[in-house]
Symmetry: D2
Subunit: 335 residues, 4 copies
């Protein structure tokens, strides 16, 4: 099922080189103000071709809304939207029809379905995440009204941490070399009230992990201390409680990443997402074709050497959908 | 919702110190042979009190099946089961009613629901995972018939890798010190056919992450190269394809962890789960009570210094549920 | 899936002659007061053997609650419950193993699953509705707190309308004759606020129809004017609006049965459910066995000649689950 | 939630006078051949303006497919589609903004959401059923490949049964009188194998009832003998089994309507759907406005006097979705 969310639910569709991608956002409460310009702005953040470091393809993604609000106010009915695919240079991909690209979804889609759309990776293309960004931008506007903010940053690129300049240098070096690099995005959600998350099936970290692992190229998710917690002793990891000056229960540290027992505790929610290096590289790789032969393959043309900067709005969008869904689910927590 | 799975679906219930925990396993195909002894054996693996290193509490978990099979063959109807809670020493917990234990779910449950079961952590207790083990053991029996095997091992404890003896020594040292340690469990699923996983909503890694993050004390999930992939270049991470002697498409390496584009590729599925150190330790910690006062707390009595060895059957059970669910979902992939 | 409800969700299990039937009620808000005696009282209403007109079998259904509330207050966690099956006179049913009873589920269960529990109809037994009654009784208590009342009555038996005495006479006549009769139950839900129901997927009438058609022996559902509306002209069916003395929008008539456009309008919700005559009758019927032979069959022993009086608490229970679920779903209607 | 189906699932969107209506069809197996012309043909059957008896509005619904198949073969990915709304004569509806039309959804939508789209009834418009027809047409093509056929007919109009001419005369008379009439549509599904339907949550009659009650103006659903069964004795209602010449278990009569115990038995599935008279009539009705005043209202312009003929393709479409979904669900029935 191409769906995310329990109440605030995105059902998405679309192949990379079909007529359009898009989706239906159901469960949007009535009476919310929608700023379509802000949605488009999030979509623009995801777009490639914004710097020399990202691919030069100009996708010009324009979201078209088809239903669900009137004069900028939601009706309580589903929001349908589409984004036309305008850059159909199918000729670039024709040679790919018979070959399984390493570390792509070519082989697995064909193994599963017995058929695949070869142009641009079809449904497996990262282009599908544009629909996530649209739905996330709607959720984000709701969260902002509630005082909940989402922020992300690139923590490392190819193992290198540092300022933006140092990270960009690492990417540029990889690009120069016809190679690509992975990276880690950290996301922080602030202003989340205590009480969000539905144990045991929909713990807040479960909903977040589900959302993040749905993003192309993601290989890992951790929250709070994450994998580092596995190396720690209990004394190092304790988040002691105290009452702040307003009488609110707080923790002095945030090893928990804002979630305890699957439920938010009022601290910042902090999690990290690991992205693998883009598999499309200039180096010649060995692979196979559909007919049983072994072949060699080297990618030509434009490709992102690193996706983490473009991934930030996607990570934030998925986080926004999760947190807003948790807000709505939580409305049934008490009689 | 206390549910896991789309077709093979567990709905679980139960507080640590109520009359019983249990669940309903729906979506079990008819005609499967159930070995109840093998289910009990998995449950016994989870049980504490099996070595000096784990807590001495003798839970004596006995699963009682109430429906869904006849003479060991499933009927296609839901399998109901319960596990009675026999060790109700409620007096041990009475002092906890007014205090929020650090890094436990005491505060968050109360923030969410306005009420909580204080005895043994109630629904937030790791005891709830016994129901996962029962359902997972059923799924596992189905998978074994299909030639799919699940195996797990402890990769590290408190940052120390090594043989069982070295890992146990690290745990013993922490216990001696009144402390606890975290650890990493790696799980491998072999014999998985190519084609499992439902993009984009239920990618196989999404289903696994969802399952693993549902386990108590888990802080992170990664598959294949995981977070290490974020530090790599594309050339290092490529899984080149080849045809094996039986004409099956294989990869020479398994950076992908057996999943590409959200779908299994026929290689071993490999993932790792990070467990934080148990929060209940002998050290005195600062915390607060419900009435606004700051208090100090030190755990008394028996407590596991490390959960990773007991967590292995739980990780395997969750993996079994996911993979079997993916097998059933995949039956609709083609017309 | 053996499930009912979106937020307030029952997952049920159990064969008629297995160890127990039962279920898990998820999505119960925390802080609700549960009167277990009132639940048992609803269960007693469903029980056979309460008059000379219903079967003499003494099922003595006792519900045992296993989780989800403490001192009569819900915890926000799932409520697990079981009802032991005590009347295992399996010998009565042994002859049935090879024969498909007409108008029962014997043949269809076997056609679907390749296996069936022959004793008492297994999962297809009306006994399974006892779990519905338990969950419905919990929902009903919540609704009563909200001022919502549910009432049902038998409108006709075997085509005869009249007072209780006349209806009972019709049933007694059928019983005397070794025959059975069908009937219609009408259910009214009063005090429902305007606004319940989720178009288009979960219109209130859809949720009710789904619930009612799940009850054994039900052949039809209608609300408001129902099938009679199909015979009417628009002028006869109009529910004109007016403002009552408290300034509330009301309708002068209730052809709509309290639902317009899938959403409650504040009037009484009125619907009717058609029950077929019980298929187990003394008359000799022709049927087949599993091996290809045609055989004759006449039911022996005790059987209800008419289910509609016992069906009333079941209809009410299902209605209660639906309406309470709609109340909870409606909490997300507005921002 | 604006969704239908468990595996073959339609998520629909769209207001009557917004830019477009449409939907996403998920769970479509790969490798199915799609005839888009046949989809359009079903859509054309639903369209008004086809005879003097139906409204003259020319909607010219053209479905545009956006994803999910390639060269007419499904990819296993979701099928997105839209139908542009072209006939935006909003001026016709401006006077309606302050008034609640009797027997429409105006008041209930506003009671629920606090806002409503007044033009053409918004989401409550029967226009939304065009999306059902598209998804149903896809399902129908799959069913035809499996030898399953769906057929419907109008059984009565305003209480009058007869041939097409007599039914049309009844409608013409109502139209002449500025009035409208209800009617009953009977639908038959032939070629259904025994074994479809998922007790107890998704009995086949439950799935059908859910689908049919989702259609605008539907007030009742019955299958097999339906409400007439409530008036019958057990001896009249028995479907005796026999073996046909091919050794298949059959019933001599079909009181059951092809479903026993929630599962298809291989006979024709037969059900009836009751439609109320269209509420928009020329007669002056009393109603209220939003500000507390009582007003009078008489519909002007074109309106269908009876929807049952246009409803036939919608009933068939919903039936097709249900049956195909049941086929896919049934793939998990056995191990």
């Amino acid at each position: 099922m191409n769906q995310f969310g329990k109440i605030f639910r995105l059902t998405a569709f679309g192949e990379s080189h079909g007529p359009a991608i898009g989706g239906v956002i159901d469960g949007v409460p009535a009476g919310m103000r929608i700023d379509t310009g802000a949605v488009q702005a999030q979509l623009d953040r995801r777009r490639p071709g914004q710097s020399v470091l990202t691919t030069a393809r100009n996708e010009a993604d324009r979201v078209e809304f088809l239903s669900g609000f009137l004069d900028g106010i939601t009706l309580g009915t589903p929001i349908g939207f589409i984004i036309r695919n305008t850059d159909h240079r199918s000729a670039d991909y024709s040679a790919m029809a018979e070959i399984y690209r390493p570390n792509h979804a070519d082989y697995t889609y064909e193994a599963k379905y017995g058929i695949r759309e070869v142009r641009g990776g079809g449904r497996a293309s990262a282009r599908a995440t544009a629909s996530f960004v649209v739905a996330g931008a709607i959720a984000r506007q709701a969260l902002e009204t509630l005082g909940i903010e989402i922020f992300s940053e690139v923590k490392s690129v190819g193992g290198i941490s540092g300022n933006i300049g140092e990270l960009e240098a690492a990417i540029a070096a990889a690009k120069c070399d016809g190679d690509s690099v992975g990276g880690v995005v950290e996301c922080t959600v602030s202003g989340v009230p205590a009480g969000l998350g539905e144990p045991l099936g929909d713990k807040l970290q479960v909903m977040l992990a589900q959302a993040m692992l749905s993003i192309n190229a993601v290989k890992g998710f951790e929250y709070g201390d994450g994998f580092a917690a596995a190396d720690m002793h209990g004394r190092e990891a304790a988040d002691e409680f105290y009452y702040d000056t307003e009488g609110v229960v707080r923790t002095r540290t945030n090893h928990s990443g804002g979630i305890q027992g699957g439920i938010s505790n009022g601290e910042d929610i902090v999690f990290r997402v690991a992205f693998k290096p883009v598999p499309t590289i200039a180096k010649t790789l060995k692979t196979v074709d559909r007919k049983g032969a072994e072949v060699e393959l080297a990618a030509k043309g434009r490709h992102d050497p690193c996706v983490v900067f473009r991934a930030m709005p996607i990570v934030e969008a998925m986080a926004a959908m999760v947190i807003f869904d948790a807000v709505l689910l939580n409305r049934s927590a008490r009689f």
